[in-house]
């Protein structure tokens, strides 16, 4: 019992997830900087690896200003609610073995619910601060959410359909011979693009576009609330990539090495794939300019939704035809 509680709190539970969030933020900033010909964070810890931690702590110790016209209750508590979403979802991902910490038979549905929940919380959060910039940002948030949600869910459903399971554990287990990405490369692509939209990474940083609407929905937040909102985004980054690894890249599965104990091996494979997915997003994010909200909606509805539907049809044909059925 104590072991499990420790697992949930430290490794591979909450603290590990937060640490990974910091790591991803650092890698993100560092790779972007290197690709732009800069060094990026350097003096905070070795190569600046503690930079996200310093940012987080500094914001924690800062004064928190609540705008007079804001809805106090939501403004104070919603960041915590928002923070829960990716943190809870992370418990459904198997990291150090084929069984996740809190998996159950239909946990994929829970993940989908938590995704929608996060979008909902962030919308009321944004609306609660009631300034003209956050109002525009709220509109953009909602519009972006309804745009990316359909392709995102369709991509997830594709994996679930093919693996004939609604639990992350089951989907990972079904990929022991063949990774899903080889069957459904387009679903993976759609998932990554939709994920970038969910994380508000360029080119989809529309709701927090710096040069258009100040800091978007983050404009009015300061101090502790801001630190948690930023942390949530980073943890969401980790969770999104981890889900991609589990759904399409076979989780921690990989060739066995005799000398290494299976949990360690599983963890190493998982981390390597996680960082690869993260790196893919870093590169895309650095290479693209921000698009407009109308263009984003068009991209998701007119291009990516048909693509993911075609992918589902293709997978269904495969299943009906009995070719390449997952184990």
């Amino acid at each position: 019992m104590i072991n499990e509680i420790l697992q949930a709190i430290i490794f591979p539970g909450v603290l590990f997830t937060i640490a990974m969030g910091f790591l991803f933020d650092w890698l993100d900033r560092k790779t972007a900087a290197r690709m732009q010909g800069r060094i990026g964070p350097k003096i905070t810890g070795p190569s600046g690896i503690l930079q996200p931690l310093a940012d987080f702590l500094k914001l924690l110790f800062k004064e928190e200003i609540i705008p007079s016209h804001a809805d106090r209750v939501i403004f104070l508590f919603a960041p915590a609610l928002y923070f829960l979403a990716p943190l809870l979802s992370m418990l459904f991902i198997p990291i150090i073995g084929p069984t996740p910490l809190a998996g159950f038979e239909f946990d994929l549905l829970a993940i989908l619910f938590l995704l929608a929940y996060a979008a909902f919380v962030v919308t009321i959060l944004s609306y609660s601060s009631a300034s003209s910039f956050t109002t525009i940002a709220t509109g953009r948030l909602v519009l972006q959410y309804v745009s990316y949600e359909i392709p995102l869910v369709l991509a997830i459903i594709t994996a679930a359909l093919y693996s004939r399971s609604l639990s992350v554990e089951g989907i990972v287990a079904s990929q022991s011979t063949l990774w899903n990405i080889l069957v459904m490369p387009f679903a993976f692509g759609v998932y990554i693009i939709a994920l970038m939209a969910e994380l508000e990474k360029p080119p989809f940083d529309i709701p927090s576009a710096k040069t258009e609407i100040v800091a978007g929905w983050l404009t009015e937040f300061s101090g502790r609330a801001l630190s948690f909102l930023k942390l949530t985004k980073e943890v969401g980054y980790v969770f999104g990539s981890a889900l991609a690894v589990s759904l399409f890249l076979g989780g921690g599965l990989g060739p066995e090495v005799a000398a290494v104990p299976p949990p360690v091996l599983y963890f190493v494979y998982f981390m390597v794939k996680l960082l690869l997915v993260g790196f893919l997003i870093f590169v895309l994010k650095t290479a693209l300019a921000r698009i407009k909200i109308g263009q984003a909606t068009e991209l998701f509805w007119k291009i990516l939704t048909p693509v993911s539907l075609a992918q589902i049809a293709f997978v269904l044909v495969l299943i009906q035809g009995g070719v390449l059925v997952a184990t």
């Binding site: 790779t31 732009q36 010909g37 800069r38 060094i39 650095t286 290479a287 693209l288």
Partner: protein, 129 residues
């Protein structure tokens, strides 16, 4: 018309990533300044005669002349003046240096002038003599 594609910058991005970053290691390494760099103003008190030309030409009103005594010319008592520089407002144009007939002024290469107290930037060097 060239082909449109998303991510046209990716090859160059990877090339840049593998190169050495172009950042100059400034605080750890001294800056190489060109010979003509116009930094902090400096005065040689020995050479200054208090002729006031610098105070007259300065566009930013950096220089004020202060009486430090008198001297006798013939049978008249004339005030002896020396400049005081308010460097916080200096625009580093070098007009005073160009106009100083006695070569008392020069622009050094010092540019690290940040200070929490504005008073630190008042240069009274010429008065000390």
């Amino acid at each position: 018309m060239p082909r449109r594609r998303a991510g046209a910058a990716i090859p160059e991005m990877f090339r840049t990533m593998l190169e050495k970053p172009s950042t100059r290691a400034y605080p750890y390494q001294k800056v190489e300044l060109p010979a003509r760099f116009r930094g902090k103003l400096d005065i040689d008190p020995e050479r200054c005669t208090g002729c006031q030309v610098c105070a007259m030409v300065c566009p930013a009103g950096v220089i004020t002349m202060i009486d430090i005594g008198t001297r006798k010319v013939g049978d008249k008592e004339l005030p002896v003046k020396r400049p005081v520089f308010e460097l916080s407002t200096c625009i580093f144009c070098g007009e005073c240096v160009d106009n100083c007939a006695f070569k008392a002024l020069e622009m050094t290469k010092q540019f690290e002038l940040a200070t929490p107290h504005k008073e630190d930037l008042t240069m009274r060097k010429a008065l000390t003599k």
